[in-house]
Symmetry: none
Subunit: 182 residues, 2 copies
DNA sequence: TCCGGCCTTAGCACCAGGTGCTAATCCCCG
DNA sequence: CGGGGATTAGCACCTGGTGCTAAGGCCGGA
């Protein structure tokens, strides 16, 4: 096995089994621990503890964001009752397995949560929506959504959301957001 | 502060901030590291690294299991190209914090994934959709969605989805699902 | 044949964040 | 004033590393 082959396999193995130590890796590849260290260094793969910490923080932030992610994606601008803007990074887990195409409901989730949060009311709910998925979004692309309140009448708000990737429209939606009760 | 008080607070603090070392804990409570160690031991709280590993494994198992959910919810019936039925349990994390009302995009996700999967094609994508959120769904309710293919014409399928809780409609949607290609 | 390079291995000191143990102190109460 | 629980200190040791220096092994070219 050449060095390049080993490094490729090493990267893949660590990807699949993040909780593996250098010692174990060395045994699996039949090389010394030092070689594994060099390989990791050249591949920019952090040490076991670092990898573990990263995963743990993911779990933790997810636990935290039960309730914390009022907005799906990251809220960038907010003019309450008028306009809001958010950005969402797309990842593999948002795609149909293997296809690399982000599933529609993630785009909808970003747009919907933005549309609801732009309304200046704690109890806003989506009533109706009309959507167009203009162009498939691929994993890794950053989706920027802009929500604009276009009309409002006593507790009923029409909000338009347009999402773009690199300036190109990928999704359009019109949401009727209602605030129940007077 | 009595020892019991300190231990109570210690347990709570670690619960809230799992990534805290004994050193930091010692500083916060103004005691020595050894005292913290004794406290942890008597409370059965594992060391930082152990706590981190536990969280990381949670994240990892979650990561593994996502991507597998081609259908959001559980698929109960499937007549490819005609009709499909799924059920989704709603949990606290699907709700706006505190409100107890499930957010629209979870209903949409169930409906959308069902609409896409009822189509007999690997590369089906949502093109357009029209939605009505008829009635708020509360956390803990089981949402049953039925998707019916109502019309189809060369790679374009209209799919109606109706979701109910206890027989009562909560969501209706009409999806245009497209299968790209020839 | 020998030499230069690349790859690999070895060895050592050091690090964080601990465990496990023993030995001192503190401080309060009777 | 003494006794005892609570606290602290000190030391050796552990894992899973980093960073550095030094030494081999092997292969191709002159």
């Amino acid at each position: 096995m050449t060095r390049e082959e080993r490094r490729h396999q090493l990267a893949r193995l660590i990807q699949e089994e993040p909780f593996i130590s250098d010692r174990e890796l060395a045994q699996r590849f039949g090389v010394s621990v030092q070689t594994i260290r060099l390989d990791r260094a050249s591949l920019g793969i952090p040490q076991l503890r670092e990898r573990t910490r990263k995963l743990a923080r993911m779990a933790y932030s997810q636990l935290r964001s039960v309730g914390a992610d009022e907005v799906v994606g990251e809220l960038l601008e907010m003019e309450l009752g008028r306009r809001a803007l958010s950005v969402m990074e797309t990842t593999e887990r948002m795609a149909l397995s293997g296809s690399g195409v982000v599933r529609g409901h993630h785009l909808f989730a970003q747009a919907n949560s933005l549309a609801v949060s732009v309304i200046d009311a704690s109890q806003a709910l989506t009533g109706r929506a009309r959507l167009r998925f203009v162009k498939p979004v691929r994993v890794g692309e950053r989706v920027v959504a802009v929500a604009t309140v276009v009309r409002q009448r006593q507790g009923r708000f029409w909000v338009d959301v347009e999402s773009r990737v690199q300036g190109e429209p990928v999704f359009q939606g019109r949401f009727l957001v209602v605030v129940p009760g007077p």
